[in-house]
């Protein structure tokens, strides 16, 4: 690898290539705790041309690499072990904003909330809002097909990207999607979004912006059981009301948030709270809010209150969005898990998660996108304690299998990365995993981009064999 340092420095400059162990420490982890993987070196191009030159050099030398945005990913997708780490956070250009068609063209390193701020001048916003939005990048959002609370109504990253100029691991540049009309043929853009850095990197992304709603109602409902809150969620959705967001926090989460600097005024004696936001045209919004209130009360809510001004709304949301940060304060490490179950299965899966936590003597806090059935069970722990880490790992594995058994999936917005690979065999058939491998190899025949992630390597073998040559099982 050392012979790469000088040619890379010739492209990006002396200071933008890190090769010494001490310098690389920052890049040994991402948002997934408990893992330290040291890249062979890290390179940080500052322009599109530099990215292209770097990737072409790596292709010439047949060197593997891991793309990285802000490194906030929670599934270990940006961990690079003995391969080159390609940091893209310096490509921060918002290249254009077209207010007439409500769209923007951005470079991959643009921070999600920076795009939101730039769009605000036109009465627009970028709808996908992961909790890490003040740090995470659009390139990373594309790689993970990121979601967020407001995706309940507005959809995930896939639904907000019109086109991408992508750099394949071979160094070839391709246009995916069409910002000026329909596309015909295969949905290569759809395949690229959520490919977790395995299909290449985005050089620019054309996103659809969303008009700011005319009016917003933010409600806080508190319940004496998680079950009751889950039933309220189902009742609202079944009635045809699509809130912009419908977030649940359990007692453990509420208590941690209220003890932190992010205290939002949540009732600390509640077993569960729902943060429900309705938005859109002002007409009819109060009717919907009244019905949501009724559904919550009918399900057993102790109280339902409505934010009366923008400050109160912001405070209620801050408690939710910074819940992970609040949890981080009380334990050295925090696993933020991600799984999805059918909405009607929420009560039984949450009860099962409680039983799993008790069995393994771990403390699980739940804060999640209830309207989508997208769970985030979180466990704070001390990774220095091998015994505790093992218990956490065992509990998380059981939680994942419980979600699969309920007809759900192992990740709704964080990606598979490294963390979720062990569950892929439980979720997908061998033929399906082989198809995913085959798709990856079309974009990256040598599997040099983000190697060893997403699909377990053992799943990819059979696809290469001719049917007659397959071992008889």
């Amino acid at each position: 690898m050392n012979d790469l340092v000088e040619p890379l420095r010739a492209i990006v400059g002396e200071r933008r290539v890190l090769a010494r162990a001490g310098e690389l420490r920052t890049y040994e982890s991402d948002g997934l705790p408990g893992y330290q993987k040291r890249p062979s070196l890290a390179v940080f191009p500052g322009t599109r041309d530099e990215v292209v030159a770097v990737v072409r050099l790596l292709a010439e030398r047949n060197v593997s690499f891991v793309p990285r945005g802000a490194g906030t990913g929670l599934s270990g997708g940006a961990l690079a072990e003995d391969v080159v780490l390609l940091g893209l956070h310096r490509l921060k250009g918002i290249l254009s904003i077209d207010a007439d068609d409500a769209r923007a063209v951005v470079e991959p390193g643009v921070v999600n909330s920076s795009l939101g701020r730039a769009a605000a001048a036109f009465g627009l916003h970028y709808a996908p809002d992961p909790s890490s939005q003040t740090a995470c990048t659009i390139g990373g959002n594309v790689a993970e097909n990121a979601g967020g609370p407001h995706c309940l109504k507005y959809g995930v990253t896939l639904n907000h990207v019109l086109a991408i100029t992508a750099l394949l691991p071979s160094g070839e540049i391709v246009s995916l999607g069409n910002a000026d009309g329909e596309t015909d043929g295969y949905d290569l853009l759809g395949a690229f979004i959520g490919s977790e850095g395995c299909f290449g990197v985005a050089l620019d992304v054309t996103v659809q912006l969303t008009k700011n709603p005319q009016a917003v109602r933010t409600l806080l409902a508190d319940f004496m059981s998680v079950d009751a809150a889950a039933h309220a969620v189902s009742a609202v959705i079944a009635a045809g009301i699509v809130p912009a967001a419908m977030e649940m926090m359990d007692a453990a989460t509420v208590q941690v948030v209220e003890a932190s600097i992010y205290a939002a005024g949540y009732p600390t004696d509640a077993e569960a709270i729902l943060l429900i936001e309705l938005d859109g045209a002002a007409a009819g919004l109060d009717d919907d809010a009244a019905r949501v209130t009724e559904f919550c009360r009918a399900a057993g809510a102790r109280g339902v209150r409505s934010a009366t001004d923008p400050d109160e709304r912001a405070r209620l949301w801050q408690g939710r969005k910074k819940a992970f940060g609040a949890m981080g304060r009380v334990s050295p490490a925090l696993v933020v898990q991600d799984a999805v179950v059918p909405r009607t299965k929420l009560p039984e899966v949450l009860a099962e998660i409680h039983r799993i936590a008790d069995r393994h003597d771990v403390h699980i806090c739940n804060v999640f996108h209830a309207g989508d059935g997208n769970l985030h069970p979180n466990i704070g722990y001390d990774p220095q304690s091998a015994a505790e880490a093992a218990r956490v790992h065992a509990a998380m594995s059981e939680v994942m299998h419980a979600c699969i058994a309920a007809g759900g999936t192992i990740t709704g917005e964080h990606g598979v990365g490294l963390d979720k690979m062990p569950y892929m065999d439980s979720l997908f058939t061998p033929a399906t995993l082989q198809a995913m491998c085959a798709l990856r190899e079309v974009f990256d025949p040598q599997r040099r981009a983000n190697p060893g992630k997403v699909v377990p390597v053992h799943a990819c073998r059979e696809w290469h064999a001719a049917p007659s040559a397959r071992p008889s099982a």
Partner: protein, 395 residues
């Protein structure tokens, strides 16, 4: 797992038989075709066989003969449905309406088409203005690839990023990567109020209203004067609008529309009549552009089509115009149609749905001929036995 029984008037039944018992017959057909080197033309309801380029298929893979149109899983509380691909949109609609739910897909050709074909062709109608195309609604699917493998991608939950997105890849692939045998889709609750109205408006005014409005209509579809007359909704360029929501919202939305023009009530079936317009003997092409730049394209389309007796409808929010052009007889016909298409496609992307066979190669470049698409085709259908030729792919 919760199961719902469905009414006796509905043909669809719950059938939770393992996928293999339904799908193995499809696998057998694909394997046989592969062994024989005999390409297959995939057929659903058989209603849209003249769409796409001519298929070099020796045999039909007639899915309804192999896969019964059962519901696999329907839990209304989840607002998701898993159904065999051969169920028609109409059959599905009857089951959903009984539970106060619906699937907002209204492709051309109406409700007799199968859901599998709708998704395989990525077909969308006026409802795509608010709800998007099948790409936005499909959660997962089962597919028999050209290798004869059964793939089950995605799932039946509304958010899912596990693994690479084979579901999106199959949606709109026109069966060239696999025959779709089962799908899971996202559903909506039927709104408490709905209203459909017509407003006389130019494309530029319509776009101004749509882009500035606080209201998101379920559908907002421009129709040419000829189509407005045929539908009985007016005799000039007209915007058909469909609102849904609670009473107060729909009332306010209708009032807001009055700033564009006097809204005239229309029958709710106007939407199905729009989707049933293209009878046999027409060519259908779609033109698309950035929504803000669609108006001049629309004006030109209107003028050209008035001259040749054609009609068009457009979804301004998506920037898509669908042109329906009657076909004449005789040797002059092809050059006439070529001329019309050349006149229409200025400043727009052209996607053809239906054309006379000899015109495809000269009018529309082959689709999916880039290296990535060719690689994907080779991976999923190495012997090119599924709908070969439908993309005009090079051999």
């Amino acid at each position: 797992m919760a199961r719902r029984s469905v009414g006796a008037t509905v043909r669809l039944t719950m059938n939770d038989a393992p996928a293999s018992s339904h799908t193995s017959a499809v696998v057998d057909e694909v394997q046989r075709a592969r062994a024989d080197g005999a390409p297959l033309r995939i057929v659903g309801a058989g209603r849209w066989l003249d769409a796409g380029r001519p298929v070099r298929g020796e045999r039909s893979l007639h899915l309804p003969a192999l896969v019964s149109p059962d519901i696999v899983h329907y839990e209304p509380g989840d607002l998701t449905l898993t159904v065999r691909a051969t169920a028609t949109l109409g059959e599905i609609d009857r089951v959903l309406r009984a539970e106060g739910q619906w699937l907002p897909l209204d492709p051309a050709g109406g409700m007799d088409g199968t859901i599998g074909a709708t998704i395989a062709t990525g077909s969308a109608g006026p409802l795509s203005s608010a709800f998007g195309t099948p790409r936005e609604q499909v959660l997962g699917m089962e597919v028999v690839t050209g290798r004869g493998d059964v793939i089950r991608s995605g799932g039946r939950v509304v958010k899912n990023v596990a693994g690479f997105d084979v579901t999106r890849l199959m949606t709109g692939a026109w069966g060239t990567l696999g025959a779709v045998t089962e799908v899971s889709v996202r559903l909506r609750a039927v709104p408490s109020a709905e209203a459909s109205v017509a407003v006389t408006a130019s494309a530029a005014d319509a776009w101004r209203w749509i882009s500035a409005s606080e209201y998101t209509p379920y559908a907002a579809e421009l129709v040419t004067p000829a189509l407005a007359r045929a539908l009985g909704v007016g005799d000039a360029g007209t915007l058909l609008v469909r609102f849904g929501g609670n009473d107060a919202l729909v009332r306010a939305a209708l009032q807001s529309l009055a700033t564009l023009g006097e809204p005239r009530p229309v029958e709710g079936d106007v939407w199905s009549r729009v989707s049933m317009r293209d009878a046999a003997g027409v060519a259908v092409i779609r033109l698309s552009a950035r929504p803000s730049r669609l108006a001049p394209v629309w004006e030109r389309v209107t003028t050209v089509l008035e001259r040749v007796g054609g009609e068009a409808h457009a979804t301004p929010r998506r920037g898509v115009i669908r042109c329906i052009i009657p076909l004449g007889e005789g040797d002059e016909e092809f050059s006439r149609l070529r001329g019309i298409s050349q006149a229409l496609r200025v400043d727009a992307t052209l996607v053809a749905e239906r054309l006379p066979a000899p015109l495809w190669s000269s009018l529309v470049p082959s689709t999916a001929s880039d290296p990535l698409s060719r690689g994907i085709r080779a991976a999923f259908d190495p012997d090119r036995i599924l709908n070969p030729g439908i993309f005009g792919e090079l051999t």
